[in-house]
Symmetry: C2
Subunit: 189 residues, 2 copies
């Protein structure tokens, strides 16, 4: 098989998969998890029911795949912010602010609780923890952040503190939460 | 019916109820939720199966009642610490430390996730939020804590930050977490 042909098949599969994820997320958001069926998803995606079953066994597995894609989009977004130029304090603040807004926009709902059971969430949390940890260690070396507590512990503190953004009523409150969290990271007086 | 008689019945009921809760918690801790039956619970508590069913319909409801009792014990413990004499900073630190240790000792397990679905947990969280909020407002008035962020938002920050204690490996790490959280609450430089 020439390479172009394989690429095209792969591309086609990816496109069908992505369209299925988008359709399912939209249907669940509009009608709730309980009322969405594989038949509906196939119809709205514009593919046959038999084809859909070649990709996914049930609605839950589609949603899990959709969520895994979302989590990866968020991680890539945060990694891009981390890799901006600028001093470490500014980059840390930007990453923590972005993470706080992700928490703020994705409130704890039953659906979130269901989706967060997946292994991919634990994996993403570890990746996020590791890269926040790197920023904190860099900040401790340059003297802009505290160095009396290990960077790993400070990262655990940050990521838990910022989940509070899910219970805050406004974007302004989320920004204040980030400021308070950052205050905890500065060198002690 | 003379009052003494009613009291005795009430006391007897409370004793049976408490014994049932203790037995069930011990059995579930030893053998896991799935393998504990009402028959076992009745036998270990030393009451008849029919009597047990007059108190509780199933194992889950016993566990929920046990957890509600535990949560109330924790709340009372925290309220006692809050009501100690001493300045507000010291009392806040004592309350936050105690709360962090509760989180540290009760790691997130499947059982915890199950039990935390109950309304009583949300109610206890609100009570705790309110009384931490009162301490923070008092601290802001006396100048020992920041007053540029509302006490309610700071309480939300604290309680989320301290859930990190559940992922920390040692008591020393929990104490550092409390120190970092408190640093976020001091008046900004």
């Amino acid at each position: 098989m020439p390479k172009v042909w394989t690429d095209t098949i792969e591309e086609h599969r990816r496109a069908v998969r992505n369209a299925t994820l988008d359709t399912t997320a939209a249907l669940v958001a509009a009608h709730g998890l309980a009322s969405v069926t594989m038949t509906q998803i196939a119809k709205e995606t514009g593919i046959g029911r038999a084809t859909l079953y070649k990709y996914f066994p049930d609605v839950e597995s589609i949603l899990a795949a959709w969520h895994e894609r979302q989590v990866n989009v968020h991680l890539e977004h945060l990694a891009k912010i981390r890799d901006h130029s600028g001093d470490v304090s500014a980059r840390l603040e930007a990453v923590l602010t972005a993470y706080a807004f992700i928490n703020h926009e994705h409130h704890d709902t039953q659906l979130v609780a269901l989706l967060h059971r997946g292994d991919h969430v634990a994996r993403a949390q570890r990746q996020l923890h590791d890269f926040v940890c790197d920023l904190l260690a860099e900040g401790a070396r340059t003297g802009s952040l505290r160095d009396d507590v290990a960077a790993g512990e400070l990262a655990t503190f940050c990521l838990h503190a910022l989940t509070a953004a899910g219970s805050l009523p406004s974007k302004a409150a989320v920004r204040r939460l980030v400021a308070v969290t950052l205050a905890g990271l500065r060198p002690p007086r």
